[in-house]
């Protein structure tokens, strides 16, 4: 019989205008893997931050091992055996593994002792790490190991994991799950946040579902389907994408031996990337983050010029042209980083709409902005893509990640591009909104556009793509039909084994 | 901007009508350094205070300090002219072109530019024959040096500074044939740190008497610390080197400023070129230190008196230029035109004159 580890009793937390958590109660047993489900903005982040001591509840209390538990800061939580692995890693790129781990510990042992411990613990849990490597040189999966090992070194009783698998290859996910199951068997409880319902079904013992800050349901994931859990989260029917026939048209985008040196010291240069993208085609580009995805997007959007003939749009060499010219010609791009790249954080939604759509939507006349037309376009995005915001005068920064993502994708889709390039279109977006975005992309393709989707979410790519390629260490595999590929095959390709596509 | 100044002028006019019946004369001064530099700008400010003292309520003075040479000076003088001043004293060589530019825009305002050579109907120039003072302290330096090495901290290679070096060198040489001058150009009028470094460098090179043509008393402070001799520049600088200071060249602008303001009040002001020296009191020789032997004091005083009386000219031939060519034949004295544009070292001064 397992003992109760953490009991949450009636936690509430309000922010101006929002009730983030409203009388939330549930319990976590020792050794249990407990899923926390909910749409974007359902209050999951606020709840775990209260457990970790980053946010203080307005009312309610918690019991840890039956004793009053209310950490005022993360170090208190860590001292009492509560660790957390963030979705956006709290790591320092210019520092090495050992230094990063020290920073997350209360009583760090001397460096040599710590290094030995890091090696010992990381190997014991199948997460090998070299303490002296710089974080900047590590892959995303390895960075996550650093976060996990940092928690494990402090003998946690509860480990909070926020979207841990969204950036991992399938093999890395398997490794992570093994580690988590081992921890669970040793009595460590895990509070697990994810949007990937299939993962939750295979990993988690219990699930608590949040909606609008309230606990609306609990379930045993193994006894549910992904669809039924998604419907618990949104409190209604889930729209599923419609099947469609794939009949490719003429080539719209042609990349020929695209080579581009990365400007980011931790980035990956593109090497001889070639592909043909046809009208009506959705091509998925899989790969672990940091394998050239950002560089590919920059080369296509026009932010990084290349030799003219490396990028051709409907036969026109556009490699040397800038973003505005490319937009005018019908090649649009939506980058991954929403704040600061896709959208200017401190500018309003209507200004952000203007920035990207000025040329194609004809929002200027004789050098003057047509304010009415601009505002109409911004409103159209907000309505058609269900962007939840008080109004188009609000700053981009004020939107939640998922809502801003809907705005960014909507802005490009509504400009009716000939070719649209998107990087991580549903990153951090809840199941219902993600389904809407995917449907919009497929509708666009059905209308004769060509779509290039760069993503690390394999399920998403399998669902949306007609053809499929993998980017690994800046090289791209030969695109091939998506139908009939197995997740294992793709996983090996993502690990750098591009020949797999030829052998398959 | 223009709008607000117009309003300000109108308001001033209204106040003037309603206020005192006496038409006040307004005099503006702009300084290149702070009036507390105890050097160049300090003495100009002393001149301003002399004007205030002489005329009391009849004259209102104002000043702007630490104005960089160039466009800023033009802005400051334009503001002053718009503010209704009658006469502006621009007290640095580098204000020359700005002064002429502003003067062209305000023909009714009188301008007095120190140490320059460009004049206009409403621009006078004035300067002091500092080289007369240099002659006197050059004599003292030549007598007092034991290492026969005199250090000279120079600001910019302009005629006024070159003249000073030549005059001091010729005087020192006349009493001490072995004397050598070491000149350092610091390319600033005011940077105490750099002036102190230059003084240290000169001392390290064997100089035991320091002369300077920069504005701060930093070199005097160093000389005091190192136990060598120095001279006050522009101001007395006694406080900074009670034992090091031998004498000083003091600029006394007060009488000239009072006379020029008086001329404005009388309506007799006209564009002139004034170049006065020891005789008129514009250049004063500071009190001799007790450390100068009595016979040297007497010799220096006699030279100063002779210059004042017009019987001695510091540049009297035979003098050759540095390259050995003849400049002045025996008994010939330099004319003011050559002195005003002096751009060469005399024979015996070492090093190249930067251009």
């Amino acid at each position: 019989m397992r003992d109760t580890l953490l009991e949450i009793r009636g936690l509430s937390k309000s922010y101006p205008g929002v009730k983030a958590n409203d009388n939330v109660s549930f319990t976590i047993q020792e050794g249990e893997i407990h899923a926390l489900l909910g749409e974007n903005g359902a209050g999951k982040s606020t709840l775990v931050k209260m457990i970790y001591g980053l946010v203080h509840p307005d009312s309610g209390d918690m019991l840890l091992h039956g004793e009053h538990y209310m950490p005022r800061k993360p170090s208190e939580a860590r001292n009492l055996g509560v660790g957390m692995v963030f979705q956006h890693f709290s790591l320092f790129e210019a520092l090495n593994v050992a230094e990063n781990i020290t920073l997350g510990m209360e009583q760090a042992p001397p460096r040599t002792e710590l290094n030995a411990k890091i090696i010992e613990v990381s190997n014991a849990y199948g997460l090998p790490l070299d303490p002296n490597r710089l974080i900047g040189d590590l892959s995303v999966g390895e960075r996550q190991r650093v976060e996990i090992v940092r928690c494990l070194l402090q003998n946690p009783r509860l480990l909070i994991m926020d979207e841990p698998t969204s950036v991992l290859t399938p093999q890395e996910v398997e490794t992570l799950f093994k580690t988590l199951r081992k921890l669970s068997s040793e009595g460590v409880a895990i509070l697990y946040i994810s949007h990937k319902l299939d993962e939750i079904r295979s990993l988690c013992d219990h699930a608590t579902v949040l909606r609008m800050g309230k606990v609306v349901d609990t379930c045993i994931p193994a006894e549910e389907t992904a669809r039924s859990m998604a419907e618990m989260m949104i409190g209604g029917e889930l729209a599923m994408p419609t099947e469609r026939e794939f009949t490719p048209g003429k080539t719209l985008l042609h990349l020929q031996n695209l080579t581009l040196k990365s400007l980011d010291p931790f980035g990956t240069s593109l090497k001889d990337v070639s592909l043909e993208l046809r009208a009506g085609e959705v091509m998925g580009i899989a790969g672990v983050a940091g394998n050239g995805q950002d560089e590919l997007l920059l080369a296509l959007s026009g932010e990084r010029p290349t030799a003219p003939s490396m990028v051709k749009l409907s036969g026109v060499a556009i490699g040397g042209m800038g973003p505005t010219t490319r937009r005018a010609l019908g090649l649009l791009a939506a980058p991954e980083e929403r704040l600061g790249h896709a959208a200017a954080p401190d500018m309003s939604l209507k200004e952000n709409a203007y920035l990207s759509a000025r040329v194609r939507q004809g929002l200027t006349k004789a050098g003057f902005t047509l304010f009415g037309k601009r505002d109409d376009f911004a409103r159209e995005i907000v309505e058609k893509f269900d962007v939840r915001t008080p109004g188009i005068d609000n700053a981009a920064r004020s939107l939640s990640g998922g809502n801003l993502q809907k705005f960014v994708i909507g802005r490009e889709v509504l400009q009716k591009p000939n070719v649209l390039v998107v990087n991580q279109p549903t990153w951090g977006v809840d199941a219902a909104a993600a389904a809407d975005i995917r449907q919009a992309l497929r509708d666009l393709a059905a209308g004769g556009a060509a779509i290039l989707v760069i993503s690390q979410d394999l399920d998403e790519l399998m669902e949306i793509s007609d053809t499929f390629a993998v980017l690994a260490e800046g090289r791209m595999s030969k695109p091939r039909p998506a139908a009939g590929m197995s997740v294992e095959q793709i996983g090996l390709m993502m690990g750098g084994n591009l020949e797999e596509s030829a052998n398959a | 901007m223009k709008f607000t100044t117009t309003i300000a002028a109108a308001a001033a006019l209204a106040l003037g009508l309603g206020g005192s019946a006496i038409a006040q004369t307004k005099a503006g001064f702009i300084y290149v350094g702070p009036p507390t530099d105890f050097g160049w700008s300090y003495e100009h400010d002393q001149g301003r205070l002399a004007v205030e003292e002489a005329f009391g309520d009849m004259v209102e003075t104002s000043f702007v300090a630490s104005v960089p040479e160039g466009a800023d000076a033009e802005r400051v003088m334009t503001q002053m002219a718009l503010g209704g001043v009658d006469i502006i004293f621009s007290t640095s060589f580098g204000y020359m072109d700005p002064t002429l530019n502003v003067a062209a825009k305000f023909p009714n305002v009188k301008f007095e530019h120190a140490t320059g050579y460009k004049r206009a109907d409403n621009v006078s120039t004035y300067s002091a024959r500092f080289y007369e003072g240099r002659h006197v302290i050059g004599l003292i330096a030549g007598r007092m040096t034991e290492t026969n090495t005199i250090g000279y901290i120079a600001s910019f290679p302009i005629p006024e500074v070159v003249r000073g070096i030549n005059a001091a060198y010729l005087a020192a040489k006349s009493v001490n044939p072995e004397v050598k001058f070491k000149v350092i150009w610091v390319y600033t009028w005011f940077d105490p740190g750099k002036e102190a470094d230059a003084a240290n460098a000169l001392i390290a090179q064997g100089a035991d008497v320091i002369m300077q043509h920069t504005d701060s008393p930093a070199a005097m402070t160093i000389a005091e610390e190192k136990g060598i001799f120095a001279f006050g520049q522009a101001s007395d600088m006694m406080a900074f080197g009670p034992t090091a200071r031998l004498s000083s060249i003091i600029d006394n602008w007060g009488p000239y400023y009072v006379a020029r303001v008086q001329a404005v009040m009388d309506g007799t002001w006209e564009s002139t070129d004034t170049w006065d020296g020891i005789a008129s009191g514009m250049v004063e020789i500071g009190k001799f230190s007790d450390r100068i032997p009595a016979d040297v004091q007497a010799e220096a005083q006699a030279a100063a008196d002779a210059i004042a009386a017009g019987t001695l000219h510091p540049f009297t031939g035979p003098i050759n230029k540095q390259d050995g060519s003849v400049w002045l034949a025996a008994g010939e004295t330099a004319d003011d035109g050559t002195l005003a544009g002096m751009n060469f070292y005399v024979e015996g001064v070492e090093g190249d004159l930067p251009n």
Partner: protein
């Protein structure tokens, strides 16, 4: 040309004296920048230190009390910048520039009655025997204690940043303030501490100028030393030991050009005057040519405003 008159010993001594104020200010600014804050007010903090150190030394007749006062004054003055940028979230560049202008004006006001005064002398540290050694003695063992302190300070800062946990935390804050915050470190207070330390160092540098290098008080006497200190931090690519190299190089070139002139060597002084700046530009080009290393050394959060989002 006769170089024999160029005395290397006195050259070294003046070089060290000229470099020390810049070195002190630069080591403080390095810590500030390592914590992710760009304080362009070094010049202002230096001159506040110069007048505070001078005034208190004159009043107490004790240069050490004066230097302590200069550090306190610099730290307090820097804390104004800290309050503005860390609590009111004002722009660091604009606030830093304003701090410089404010400092220059305020120092002029405070210093009015101290012009022309003589500060008490800072004694030299004469180490018996060692100081009497030829050449080595005057170069190494016969300076005022502040010179040794400035070197010790650089060593201390190096140790702090690279060997101590607190230094690691400070670097982490400068590297990624969001991550440091989520680990539970108090970004704002750590930065306030760094800013105050930077102010104290700049204040001490200013006091060294007004008490040792010149020694006198004149308005505007820092004459750009603060800006050189800022340049040296970049020159040193945020590594403490390289600060010494940078500061001594700057001091050295200035001193060398003055001495060469005194020797009557015909290199145009204009060329010599621009040499230190030319070297800085060259070094910066060399550093930035290697993008990877440049970005490794520069604190990633430098100059960015931190606002806790929860």
């Amino acid at each position: 040309m006769d170089f024999s008159a160029l005395n290397p010993v006195s050259l070294m001594v003046s070089l060290i004296i000229a470099a020390t104020p810049i070195l002190l200010a630069a080591v403080g600014e390095l810590v500030v920048e390592k914590s992710g804050v760009l304080n362009l007010g070094v010049e202002g903090m230096m001159i506040i230190g110069a007048i505070a150190g001078f005034a208190i030394s004159v009043e107490t007749s004790n240069p050490w009390v004066g230097m302590l006062a200069a550090m306190v004054a610099g730290a307090v003055f820097a804390s104004i910048f800290g309050f503005m940028t860390q609590f009111l979230l004002s722009n660091q560049v604009a606030t830093g520039l304003a701090l410089t202008l404010f400092g220059l004006g305020m120092a002029a006001l405070l210093g009015q009655s101290y012009t022309g005064m003589k500060p008490p002398k800072v004694p030299r540290l004469d180490i018996p025997v060692l100081s009497d050694l030829p050449v080595v003695g005057p170069i190494l063992f016969s300076h005022d204690p502040m010179i040794y302190m400035s070197i010790a300070l650089v060593a201390g800062v190096w140790y702090f940043l690279n060997r101590s946990r607190a230094g690691l935390v400070l670097r982490a804050v400068g590297e990624n303030h969001e991550a440091a915050h989520s680990l539970g470190y108090n970004v704002v207070m750590i930065r306030m501490g760094a800013i105050a330390f930077g102010g104290a160092c700049a204040g001490l540098g200013g006091a060294y100028l007004s008490l040792v290098r010149v020694p006198q008080w004149t308005e505007g006497m820092t004459a750009g030393a603060g800006w050189i200190a800022l340049a040296i931090v970049v020159f040193a690519s945020w590594k403490p030991w390289r600060l010494i190299l940078g500061a001594y190089l700057f001091g050295g070139v200035t001193i060398l050009q003055l001495n060469l002139q005194a020797l009557g060597i015909g290199i145009s002084a204009a060329y010599l005057s621009m040499t230190p700046y030319l070297i800085t530009i060259i070094v910066m080009v060399i550093i930035s040519a290697d993008r990877r290393r440049a970005s490794m050394n520069a604190p990633a959060s430098l100059g960015r405003i931190f606002h806790a989002s929860h």
